[in-house]
Point group: C2
Chain length 196, copies 2
């Protein structure tokens, strides 16, 4: 296969990129932005070589400890559990959360071979006992498997006497009731809050 | 900046990729498909190093001559002029054309510094005189600049006694008249063809 064809194929591993987009990217990189393409190749190679899981929270980082775990400014008494590094980043950008994190890299799903060992539960228990955790904030996704994982984590935390909280569920801000799905609406209705 | 952040930035040079898509791609590459990511980095690096313009037709290739120019099975008497390698590939895939090509890498646009020299017109004249060209098929885009380029090329070809043809313009196959733009429809109407 030609070098051009190989590059078009290789680009198709990217999520959301089909043959037509890969072709467009290939010609853009080689005709319009070769310095950018060379830089991208180099950065991607380096990322593959250096990026690993943080020893403490398991998010992705090129160091032994990630920026958040290495920081002394974060409140160690708050521990937020997320399913993936992307969700950690999303919470970090959207909220003013100043505690620490733990990344499961998945959710409980025995059929997919995701059990407590794969999700690092014993490492999480270690952290909770070593660091002075007061509150475990469970930010798994609101799917059935995410909920199961949350319940399991809550029991684990209760076992060592740590308070557990969940993200609030309900109607999204700016959302119109007419277009809110039935489950969310029913949940929001039965968990209605007093107006202060 | 972290290696993760650098990769997210570097991916944003790709056409159609913004911050959110770049983040999704980054996590996909590093978490789900690291062998694919390593291979992509390597192939992209090689492509940048080896891919250049074909000595004869100026399309992109890693060899001195592209596959089509190097082939002895193609009809040298037919010469198709396109604006870009992507369009060459599109014609190659969609039509049964068995002649040769010439790639302009642009269109006449003096304000952008694209003149006859940049588009390789003298190389094109060389080819027409050296190879036994009978027909010059002009497949520039149906834009104002593409049309200007086509007219210029047609005059050049007439000067050396070569017949010139253009791609047919009209209503796209499968297109509904209601949604065809006014210019195309007016052109198709005034150039209506006899039913055979």
């Amino acid at each position: 296969m030609s070098a051009l064809g190989k590059l078009m194929n290789a680009l198709q591993i990217l999520p959301g990129v089909g043959p037509k987009t890969a072709q467009r990217m290939t010609f853009y990189l080689l005709q319009k932005n070769r310095p950018g393409a060379e830089k991208l190749a180099e950065i991607l190679k380096q990322a593959c070589e250096t990026i690993r899981q943080c020893d403490r929270c398991r998010t992705l980082t090129e160091n032994r400890l990630c920026r958040i775990c290495a920081s002394s400014d974060r409140d160690e008494s708050l521990l937020c559990v997320v399913e993936s590094p992307a969700e950690l980043m999303q919470i970090e950008q959207a909220t003013g959360f100043n505690g620490k994190y733990f990344v499961l890299h998945g959710r409980l799903s025995p059929l997919d071979g995701m059990g407590p060992a794969e999700l690092g539960f014993h490492q999480l228990v270690d952290i909770m006992s070593r660091e002075n955790t007061r509150e475990l904030i469970i930010a798994t996704n609101a799917t059935i498997e995410g909920e199961t994982t949350a319940r399991y984590l809550a029991q684990m935390a209760a076992g060592v006497g740590i308070k557990t909280t969940r993200l609030a569920h309900g109607v999204p801000l700016g959302g119109e009731l007419e277009y809110t799905d039935a489950n969310t609406l029913a949940h929001a209705f039965s968990h209605r809050e007093p107006v202060e």
